[in-house]
């Protein structure tokens, strides 16, 4: 039977395919083409075909290590702050749950730039250090433009991204599972370790990915709170495209960056899938 009209499935997937092509395939293709090109004498892109830009990346590992170091540390600290908070809101807060969630989320309706800028005043010597000096706690505390400030900026800006998936996981957790664990002789800590934590692990992994990936592309925090003394991939990219106007090298770095994040994402989702082991797979006896 001749096909006079496209099958319904072809028609219905067309927008998705178009979206994918326009927003994924095309930009990545452009990115790759530029990354194997040559920088023009006045900057920008001047065609050509070479893998030199990728080889050059080997000489520019510092921002990559720096980014990995700070994003892993920042993600870990964010997790340590977010988990107890999410636990409290999901399990203990009762009727105040919505209010607390709103308190966590509402500040993020303000631009990240403004919020982060505000911290420069809080951490500057007229801010928190001045208060502590007045109280006689510490004499000369320097917070702004330190690694501490960067980690603080990460925790502050990315807390909701970590908190919400964990909150959802804990919220969905049937309270009778914790009750059952205690009933069967496990104390609070043992219950947390054996029941609550493993069952919220998919939320933890999801939250970590949601924080880690954008933090790796972070530009503002190292500039505003790190005083430009810590150099992230995002800063390297900005400099390559604007100050150096070396588009091919910038494209190569961006490409490597995308690959790195894709790898992290794949590993992360695989771990999450395993952890949510509650899944329906399993060997029939």
């Amino acid at each position: 039977m001749p096909k006079l009209i496209p099958r319904a499935s072809t028609l219905s997937t067309a927008p998705a395919v178009a979206w994918f092509v326009v927003f994924m395939v095309a930009p990545l293709t452009v990115l790759f083409v530029v990354s194997v090109g040559v920088r023009g004498p006045d900057g920008g892109y001047a065609g050509g075909f070479t893998f030199d830009n990728y080889l050059e990346l080997g000489n520019r590992l510092a921002p990559i290590w720096n980014t990995l170091k700070f994003s892993l540390l920042g993600t870990a600290v964010t997790l340590l702050v977010a988990y107890p908070l999410a636990y409290y809101i999901a399990v203990k807060a009762g009727r105040r749950k919505l209010v607390l969630l709103a308190l966590v989320i509402v500040p993020f309706w303000t631009s990240m730039l403004i919020r982060t800028y505000a911290w420069t005043f809080l951490l500057g010597s007229n801010g928190l250090p001045a208060v502590l000096r007045e109280w006689g706690v510490v004499d000369d505390l320097r917070l702004l433009n330190t690694p501490f400030a960067i980690v603080l900026g990460i925790v502050y800006n990315y807390l909701p991204l970590m908190l919400l998936p964990i909150y959802v996981a804990l919220e969905r957790l049937d309270p009778s599972l914790r009750a059952a664990s205690k009933d069967l002789g496990a104390g609070r800590l043992a219950t947390f370790r054996q029941v609550t934590l493993p069952l919220s692990a998919p939320g933890v992994v999801g939250g970590c990915l949601l924080v880690l990936i954008p933090v790796m592309g972070e530009y503002l925090i190292p500039v505003l709170l790190g005083g430009g003394r810590s150099y992230f991939l995002g800063n390297a990219l900005a400099d390559l495209f604007l100050q150096s106007r070396n588009w091919p090298l910038g494209a190569a770095l961006a490409g490597a960056f995308i690959l790195l994040m894709t790898a992290i994402l794949l590993v992360g989702t695989a771990v999450a899938r395993r952890l949510s082991g509650a899944a329906t797979t399993g060997s029939p006896a």
Binding site: K182, D183, L184, A186, A190, Q194, L199, A278, A285
Partner: protein
């Protein structure tokens, strides 16, 4: 070792609840509840939703702190112990199986929490034994969510029993099962309890479940135990009209006491004076009562000319409706003398013999021994 030692041993296993109360602000979820359970009792806490039975169970398990009162296991007070230090285990309403552990891990959970954790092989042995007890040893490696509701129920049972609790608490454990499975599980639970010889405290709102399984039933209403006795006593001698209506079904004819004596009472009703067996001793003249008639105790004669053979009142009537249940038929009969009554006729032979249609004239009646005179329960000052 003699009778004294055996008696002491028994006392050690007693679960004793004394004047236990739980208030949430002004709401009295449980008020002044007391009972003693001898070991090996199948004890049902029966009542409608909101009566406090689940709160009471949670206090026994340790999930709720009593506002007042005491809980003793033997001579030791356990009211202040956290759940994980009480030698009682719970089967939860929706089982609460750990979804990230297989069946064997679920069942072995309690053993792994023990201070002196048994060797791995010992745990495995005990898990296998517990699973065999519920006939699930072949499913040890499955995840709970791969099992049917009945299988999950058995896993929950094995998990709660594996560590050898002194008392097993069951929170409406059969409510999520379909009717047929529920009946099977009822007899299985009963026989399991018999084998283990420990007490089961079983919370349910289903009176037939309680009647069929329990050795003792405590009926709860508004946070209080209103009657605590054997199933047949509960059925035959309900303390008031509310219990009579909650357990089984009854026809009620309201009236007031006009005479008491010699194991009989007489009530004045709108129709005539009716005599019956009082269910409580302290009836007083003029007290508001109900003449309660179980539908299956009313006799019916399909021949409108011949009243049934009874020593009590009879009346002609007309069948208004009927429903066929296989083993019985329920009729609604409009009687000339007593208003509309439900009548239940057990089917011991062919249905044709007693099956009649609407608008057929019949005669009904009952023996005086089968009428119960029960105090009226009034929700406002009950």
């Amino acid at each position: 070792m003699g009778a004294v030692a055996v008696e002491a041993e028994r006392t050690q296993q007693q679960l004793r609840v004394e004047r236990l109360s739980k208030h949430y602000g002004d709401v009295r979820a449980v008020s002044d509840v007391s009972f003693v359970l001898e070991p090996g009792t199948f004890f049902a806490l029966l009542g409608p939703s909101g009566c406090g039975k689940t709160t009471l169970l949670k206090m026994l398990a340790g999930f709720e702190t009593p506002t007042a009162g005491e809980i003793f296991l033997g001579d030791r007070s356990i009211a202040d112990d956290p759940p994980f230090r009480r030698p009682l285990n719970t089967v939860f309403q929706h089982y609460a199986l750990f979804p990230h552990m297989d069946v064997a891990k679920n069942v072995g959970y309690a053993l792994r929490q023990q201070k002196e954790r048994p060797a791995r092989s010992e745990i495995q042995r005990q898990v296998e034994r517990a699973l065999r007890m519920v006939q699930l040893d072949h499913l040890a490696r499955r995840r709970p969510q791969e099992l049917s509701g009945g299988q999950q129920q058995r896993v929950a049972l094995a998990r709660a029993l594996v560590a050898g609790p002194r008392v097993l608490l069951l929170d409406e454990p059969l409510s999520a099962l379909d009717a047929k499975l529920r009946v099977d599980m009822q007899s299985e639970l009963k026989s399991l309890q018999g084998q283990l010889g420990i007490s089961f405290v079983f919370v349910t709102h289903d009176q037939s479940e309680a009647l069929s399984m329990a050795d003792r039933i405590a009926v709860m209403r508004d946070g209080r135990i209103v009657q605590d006795t054997t199933p047949h006593d509960l059925y035959d001698r309900p303390v008031d009209s509310w219990v009579a209506g909650f357990i089984g079904s009854s026809n009620f004819i309201p009236g007031s006491v006009s005479a008491v004596g010699h194991g009989r009472a007489e009530a004045t009703t709108a129709f005539q004076r009716l005599r019956g067996v009082p269910t409580v001793e302290e009836l007083t003249s003029g007290q508001s009562v109900q003449v309660a008639l179980r539908p299956e105790r009313i006799r019916i004669s399909m021949d409108p000319q011949t009243p049934p053979q009874v020593d009590g009142p009879v009346s002609p009537g007309t069948v208004q409706a009927f429903s066929f249940h296989g083993d019985q038929i329920d009729y609604t009969v409009a009687t000339r003398d007593f208003g509309t009554l439900k009548v239940r006729v057990p089917l011991t032979g062919e249905a044709d013999r007693v099956l009649v249609r609407e608008a057929v004239s019949v005669q009904i009646g009952w023996n005086e021994d089968d009428a119960r005179i029960v105090p009226t329960w009034d929700a406002d000052n009950g």
